[in-house]
């Protein structure tokens, strides 16, 4: 009998705590497959955020450190600077990375720290129960924007990938999604590229992955994938924003 599908070695056989319809599990698997395919599991250190994916170290079968809220890029900087031979990645949500940890991610990207960030953007705070995030869409209802996000009051959602792409320091920045199998395949390509750049010691890399939060969006998993497609992607367009080969980055 031929095995055609199995759990990646970089994942533990643990059932995740993620809600039904949440795509964290899929994104974990994609990262794990990339670690397997690049053969780097045994020299990889992951940095977990504070948020829904804080327990990522229970699911990944590699060394991990659990960060303070938003500080994962500082952690990764510390690890990578003292152990440049290790492969280091942070796995962060939108509250963690784009709100409390904005300074850390901007400066890590700007220094060109040679680690990889998987930035999961579901436009809401998940673990604390559905509060407004820096990436919450205009008019999107959350527990702290009960009448919908009022852009006159709290501004527009931050497009992290585009913002980081403006930095002069070379890097790899892309936005992908996780709501359909086709998108997951594309997401894996970008994440693999991001890790590959690190393996080659070339540059900082960040892949923003749009994801769903049926529980806090108040939608079914199917409605959630539709909402991501119809509402999130128009505001957060997919694609590679920046590569280290860009002429602009060279000049």
């Amino acid at each position: 009998m031929t095995v055609v599908f199995k759990r990646p070695e970089s994942l533990t056989p643990t059932i995740t705590h993620y809600c039904p319809g949440c795509t964290h599990g899929v994104i974990h698997r994609v990262v794990a497959e990339v670690l397997d395919e690049l053969g780097i599991r045994e020299r990889t250190v992951g940095v977990a955020p504070v948020g829904c994916s804080v327990l990522a170290y229970n699911y990944f079968n590699c060394d991990f450190q659990e960060s303070a809220h938003g500080r994962a890029p500082a952690f990764a900087t510390g690890i990578k600077r003292v152990r440049p031979d290790l492969i280091v990645f942070t796995y962060q949500g939108d509250g963690d990375l784009a709100s409390i940890g904005m300074a850390e991610i901007v400066h890590a990207a700007n220094r060109g720290e040679k680690f990889t960030t998987v930035f999961v953007n579901n436009a809401i705070y998940g673990m604390t129960g559905g509060q407004m995030a820096p990436t919450t869409l205009p008019h999107q209802v959350t527990t702290t924007s009960p009448r919908g996000r009022d852009t006159d009051d709290v501004g527009y959602p931050i497009r992290v990938a585009e913002m980081l792409s403006t930095l002069r320091t070379p890097g790899y920045i892309a936005r992908v999604s996780s709501h359909t199998p086709k998108h997951v395949v594309e997401a894996k390509k970008a994440i693999k590229k991001a890790f590959q750049y690190q393996v080659e010691n070339r540059c900082f890399s960040l892949v923003e992955v749009l994801s769903t939060c049926p529980t806090n969006w108040g939608k079914t998993p199917v409605e959630s994938t539709r909402w991501l497609e119809d509402s999130m992607i128009p505001y957060f367009p997919l694609g590679e924003m920046k590569t280290p080969d860009d002429e602009a980055a060279q000049g």
């Binding site: 599991r41 045994e42 020299r43 990889t44 250190v45 940095v47 977990a48 804080v54 327990l55 170290y57 990944f60 079968n61 590699c62 060394d63 991990f64 450190q65 659990e66 960060s67 303070a68 500080r71 500082a74 952690f75 990764a76 900087t77 510390g78 690890i79 600077r81 003292v82 152990r83 290790l86 300074a103 850390e104 901007v106 400066h107």
Partner: protein, 357 residues
């Protein structure tokens, strides 16, 4: 080894290097930025890591990550910077990682000023961040002692897997004194293969974490930490006494540079025939409380005078540990004003005459 004339801040940086520390993450803040400037030059010479972070918050979390990866690391800062680092310090204590922090204290609260102070005694000894944790706090009175304690701080941090503080003030950082680096304090790092995140080749993954969702597990972790702090209290108390052989009626209690000024005052008073003693805690945590209480309980001891560059912070430990067995007076200067030997002489003389000595 020959003595070398060095500025305190630079000597602290060099001591860390001599103690085999090869990574320093920092953020500039007066009055200790000279450490960063020194190490920006010096670290690359020994293939070490020097990185100026975007904030103290980031610097402290870089230390956290680097220590989690098993490397000997340290930083230096000053009061408002240490306050910002306190988030990470609580986590580092919880994660049981060895990291050395130096706080060259300046006066506060708020932006305060850049001049010397001892206003962070509470911050250092009572846990500056959230949760139940403590950490060893070393308080040198001279540049040489700063060098010696700095080198020993890394071993202390390794042995107990804990953040360690060394606290000084602008005087320690800025003054120049001859120093000697002792080889006896140069040791190898302990084996961290059981816990450091260095890649899981040939073993199951190591996880550095501080989250305990199960209340029983969290309480157990707190008990484990408390046991460690009790062990530190048992083993690591350090102090010095000065002019105590004469059974003085008045005993000054002071630490750091203030203790040194007290010694000058004591020498002055000796010339007048007035014998005053000094009790100088070298570790602020663990506080040498039993030793101080024994001195307070001496029949010859009539009163204690606690001298600080604060509004009375160590004073509370002096009161607590001596249980008010003898009257405790306080003399403090704040705002960056360093008490002069003359002021202390005057305070001591007044107390002695009041007590009918």
């Amino acid at each position: 080894m020959a003595k070398k004339l060095m500025k305190g801040a630079e000597a602290i940086g060099e001591a860390a290097i001599r103690a085999n520390c090869r990574a320093y993450f920092c953020y500039p803040i007066t009055p200790q930025t000279e450490v960063a400037e020194y190490l920006a030059r010096r670290m690359p010479e020994v293939d070490g890591v020097f990185l100026q972070a975007e904030s103290e918050v980031a610097a402290a979390n870089m230390l956290f990550g680097a220590a989690g990866a098993g490397q000997r690391v340290f930083t230096t800062s000053s009061s408002p910077g240490i306050a910002l680092m306190s988030e990470a310090i609580s986590y580092i204590a919880a994660a049981e990682l060895p990291v050395v922090f130096v706080n060259i204290m300046r006066c506060g609260p708020g932006l305060g000023g850049i001049l010397p102070s001892q206003g962070d005694y509470f911050n250092a000894t009572k846990g500056g961040g959230h949760g139940d944790y403590k950490l060893p706090v070393l308080a040198p009175e001279s540049v040489q002692e700063a060098v010696d304690l700095m080198m020993q701080a890394f071993d202390l941090a390794d042995r107990y897997r804990t953040p360690v503080f060394m606290v000084g003030d602008g005087m320690i950082g800025q003054m120049m004194e001859p120093v000697e680096f002792h080889d006896k304090y140069v040791t190898d790092q302990i084996d961290q293969s059981k816990w450091a995140s260095t890649g899981c080749q040939g073993r199951s993954p190591n996880v550095v974490k501080t989250l305990f969702l199960d209340p029983n597990a969290c309480e157990l972790h707190n008990h484990h930490l408390a046991e460690k702090y009790a062990e530190i209290e048992k083993n690591e108390v350090r102090y010095e006494t000065y002019n105590m052989d004469e059974n003085p009626e008045l005993v000054l209690v002071a630490y750091g540079t203030v203790a040194r000024i007290c010694k000058t005052a004591i020498d002055e008073l000796k010339k007048e025939g007035l014998e005053i003693g000094l009790f100088r805690p070298i570790t602020l945590f663990p506080f040498p409380g039993d030793e101080l209480r024994r001195i307070a309980e001496n029949e010859s001891t009539k009163s204690l005078l606690c001298v600080e560059m604060s509004m009375g912070q160590m004073l509370e430990d002096v009161q607590r540990f001596t249980r008010y067995v003898k009257p405790i007076e306080f003399f403090g200067r704040q705002g960056g004003i360093v008490p002069s030997p003359e002021e202390i002489v005057e305070q001591a003389r007044a107390l002695c005459s009041r007590k009918g000595a």
